[in-house]
């Protein structure tokens, strides 16, 4: 076989700059082989190396008394007590899902699941944060259908419930959808595994599916902008096999109950390359591998292809020497491939052989630790100030506020998402106590009284207008959501979706959003323990709104104190917590976008210290069993939160009558839909009123009694009233109607 000569042009085609190529030659002291070029190109890709984001990611708080594993591993791990912990992470699969929605979304689920069980945790919940283009874009319906089916196809089959998420539609995602998937697993402290290749002489074992040519250069694809030719990249999208992954999951967890292994890592992006180099790097070791021993499903695969393939459902294991047979027996039981392909060495070199010759010989640290780090220039976009200008008084006053209210509830962003989550198995593993449709999903942890609350949030309109404030709000809102279910926020994973980092204005958005998120996390003392950065979310040079999705994990010490957003009893009193927040906040609001067709203005004021107090209060009120319901106020403001609490009640909708808490001088439509932060809509039995108000005083939260639950009409006195069943009907039909799907 003739070696392909490696030139700087070839390096450029691999996404490496001339400077980076020079650096590789300097490290090796020679020209790289084609296989080595492939290895460097994926390991130094933005996706794997975080070269443009690293300097900013350091701003996140990552430590805390509960943190057992922070960023840098396959997933973060946070203690929940009683010797148990939760492992979780969120990851994007944006580009593949746009090109091939079913497989792109499915393998997004598969990849993040492996990140969790590779740590020794059994996955118990999935969330999805989805962003599609405008709802009437010709491609949106196809993409929604494909992505939702793909998530369902993978998650349902492997048997991990999809318990929540969010979905938005906006023109800025027309050519670049976002598919962010979060997984959480439960693990015993003494069964946590890490991706380390320690112990010289220990065998390196390949298990799982066979290797094919699918997904070669997926990591590089994720590090490029899109253009007209992106459709041609379909072959770089991997194909998922959830059945094999289910076998792999059970086999790995069975293996982890033995003490036969020292490290394990999923072959995700950049496949065998990233798993082998990263595991050796963490342990400060080297390795030798013989690619002739890699199980494969296609003929005549080159070393380059074997190292870069992103075939799914594969794991790399470092076992204790002499324990190979135990490992083999477990994988054979589950009908999975098993092959010892190399061993750990002490010289710090990654040495890869094929066909009896060495095809790559690279110092391990050179591809991992010595990857380039860029502090890229950042600059506030010139047009940013213009975006913030908004003259509210010029907005036409709606002729019928009751109709406007219904229209808001029926818009795709607010409307019932049942058409989506009905396709997901939300109940399997019998832990889901709060199913989709409330502020946060709540799962029980079997064998304890504890519960886990989960929410994922980001308002990208706010982030577009002011990424710093938008970043703060994303954290605060997700914390508020888990607090409304009665939980204490204990950890964050994030998925930072941005445009091209080589553009200073994108870098400014990125830096600002991270600083805002970090500030809010500090106020709450919540660590960011895992996450992922997705840059180059641009098509033909047009970037998406900055979209830093925040997944919040909350803990309930006693899951029987959980709350839902829906009102419960006729006669319960309705309160607004955070009632002192009554300036008009319309910048970036849903009302402005949906009814007036504008994305402009200064986004709502964020006050993380107040939010932390509010969350403390909500948790205390829940644990003292003072509340019947709690609902976070977000998009659509007070009016939409009230309507949601009414229409989501099980078994059927109920009415409520409240007063307008805003000063009389405020326009009625603004009072209804103003998106002030730091507020929650609560209901409680009259007998609990005094205790509830006392709890609010303890946490210095201003409460206002607004009215009561009951009747069949949802009403804001003197402003608008809609029959509850009519509101429910509008809300239920909104999404399917807009997408043109029946029922």
């Amino acid at each position: 076989m003739k070696e392909i000569p490696v030139t700087k042009e070839l390096a450029r085609d691999h996404g490496l700059s001339e400077e980076e190529f020079g650096r590789i030659r300097k490290i090796l002291g020679r020209d790289p082989t084609i296989t080595e070029l492939g290895i460097f190109s994926v390991m130094w890709s933005e996706h794997c190396s975080y070269k443009s984001s690293r300097v900013h990611l350091r701003k996140f708080p990552t430590k805390g008394p509960r943190v057992l594993q922070g960023p840098g591993e396959n997933a973060g791990i946070v203690d929940i007590g009683e010797g148990l912990a939760v492992a979780f992470k969120m990851e994007s699969h944006n580009h593949p899902s746009y090109i091939e929605p079913y497989q792109g979304a499915a393998t997004g689920v598969g990849g993040i699941l492996r990140d969790i069980f590779t740590m020794g945790a059994r996955p118990i919940a999935l969330l999805d944060s989805l962003r599609f283009g405008r709802i009437d874009h010709p491609r949106t319906r196809y993409l929604v259908d494909g992505v939702v089916s793909g998530i369902a196809g993978y998650g349902n089959c492997i048997g991990v419930p999809t318990v929540g998420g969010e979905v938005y539609f906006d023109e800025c995602y027309d050519g670049n959808i976002l598919v962010n998937v979060f997984t959480l697993g439960v693990v015993r402290h003494d069964r946590i595994f890490r991706g380390t290749a320690s112990g010289i002489g220990n065998p390196i074992i390949y298990v799982g599916s066979k290797t094919g040519r699918d997904g070669i250069h997926g990591a590089t694809m994720a590090s490029e902008e899109f253009d007209e030719k992106s459709e041609e990249k379909r072959p770089t999208v991997q194909v998922g096999d959830p059945f094999t992954e289910k076998l792999l999951l059970e086999a790995c967890l069975e293996l982890m109950r033995t003490d036969a292994i020292v490290g394990i890592q999923d072959m995700g992006a950049a496949g065998l390359t990233s798993s082998s180099f990263e595991m050796a790097s963490r342990a400060g070791t080297g390795f030798s591998m013989d690619l002739d021993r890699v199980p494969r499903r296609e003929e005549r695969m080159t070393p380059y292809e074997l190292m870069l393939s992103e075939s799914q459902e594969r794991m790399l294991i470092v076992a204790k020497k002499g324990r190979e047979r135990e490992v083999r027996e477990i994988f054979e039981k589950w009908d999975l491939d098993f092959s010892v392909i190399g061993e750990v060495t002490g010289d710090g070199i990654g040495r890869i052989r094929a066909g009896g010759r060495t095809v790559a010989e690279i110092p391990v640290g050179a591809v991992t630790d010595d990857a380039p780090v860029y502090d890229r220039p950042a600059a506030r976009p010139e047009g940013q100030d213009a975006l913030l200008r908004l003259d509210c008084s010029a907005l036409p006053f709606p002729s019928d506020l009751s109709e406007t209210w219904k229209r808001m509830m029926a818009c795709p962003e607010m409307a019932d998402k049942r058409w989506i989550y009905r396709q997901y198995d939300t109940m399997i593993r019998t832990n889901t106590l709060v199913l989709p449709g409330s502020d946060a999903a709540v799962l029980r942890v079997k064998g304890t009284r504890k519960g886990i609350a989960l929410s994922v949030d980001c308002n990208s309109r706010y982030c577009y207008l002011d990424p710093y404030v938008g970043g703060m709000i994303a954290v605060c809102e997700s914390a508020r959501n888990v607090a409304c279910s009665g939980a204490e926020p204990i950890g964050v994973s994030d998925c930072l979706n941005f445009g091209n980092p080589e553009k200073p204005e994108i870098m400014w958005q990125f830096r600002s959003a991270i600083e805002g998120m970090a500030k809010a996390c500090d106020a709450f003392r919540i660590p960011v323990v895992s996450g992922n950065v997705s840059f180059y979310n641009e098509t033909k040079g047009k970037g998406i709104y900055p979209t830093p999705s925040v997944a919040m994990v909350g803990l309930l010490e006693d899951v029987s104190t959980r709350l839902v957003q829906a009102f419960r009893e006729e006669g319960d009193l309705v309160f607004l917590a955070g009632a002192d927040r009554n300036a008009v906040e319309l910048g970036g609001s849903l009302y402005l976008n949906e009814i007036h067709g504008k994305v402009a203005g200064v986004p709502p004021e964020a006050d993380p210290a107040h939010e932390a107090s509010l969350c403390g209060f909500l948790r205390a009120a829940a644990s003292r069993r003072l509340l019947s319901s709690a609902h976070d106020l977000a998009e659509g403001g007070l009016a939409c939160a009230l309507a949601e609490s009414c229409v989501t009640r099980d078994p059927g909708p109920i009415g409520a009558r409240i007063r307008n808490p805003f000063p009389e001088s405020v326009r009625a439509d603004f009072a209804m839909f103003s998106e002030n932060q730091g507020r929650a809509l609560l209901s409680c039995p009259p007998a609990k009123k005094a205790s509830l108000l006392a709890a609010a005083r303890e946490f210095r939260i201003t409460m206002e009694e607004l009215g009561a639950v009951g009747g069949t009409v949802i009403e804001i006195e003197g402003i608008a009233r809609v029959e509850a069943p009519e509101m429910e009907k509008a809300w239920r039909a909104g999404l399917t109607g807009a997408l043109g799907f029946g029922g």
Partner: protein, 233 residues
Amino acid sequence: MKIAVLVFPGSNCDHDAYHTLKHVLSADARFVWHKESDISGFDAVVIPGGFTYGDYLRTGAMAKLSPVMGAVKRFAAAGGPVIGICNGFQILLESGLLPGAMIANESLKFICEYVNLRTETSTTPFTKQIPEKTVLKIPIAHYQGNYFADRETLAALEANGQVVFRYCDPLGNASPESNPNGSVGNIAGICSKGRNVLGMMPHPERCAEEEMGSTDGKRLFTSMIEWVEEKGK
């Protein structure tokens, strides 16, 4: 009494069935790997839901070839109670232990939600504690739960009282609107002629505890346990 919970490659409701039997009902439940060919000593068999062999050929088509299914056939022939849930129902159909077949849901979508079931007969080991016409609230979670059988088979099922559950509205009317997947005759579960083999698409193991929102599923398992205990006397 000992209850076998079968585990095939791709079973994924096995833990849930085991949890309900063992931890909620304090029964002696054991996992049985699909390569076992002997299930003597067990008093009942649960074939749990999941995606055995990824549903790749046809749902249940591969699982029926596993050694354990030979043992299940002998167990059923001897009158032992067997309940197949969701994919377990599909395996029973493929194995010939129950008549008919499953096709994809009418909507061509996976559906996961609570449904209402009307109990059509109390004369099975699994419904002996549930009076006829009782409406149960139990969730479904499947893509291929659209039950189909030819006219003669259906007539025989009805004539023999083998239809155990029908999808219905909260008041017990088996209307077209309350049929989630298009199943012929709103059929959600059927039993064998001998009445000891039950196949059903809804998941009783998911709703056996107060905090899950319904405990109706528990009644099927307590019926089964009582039936076995009475038979043993």
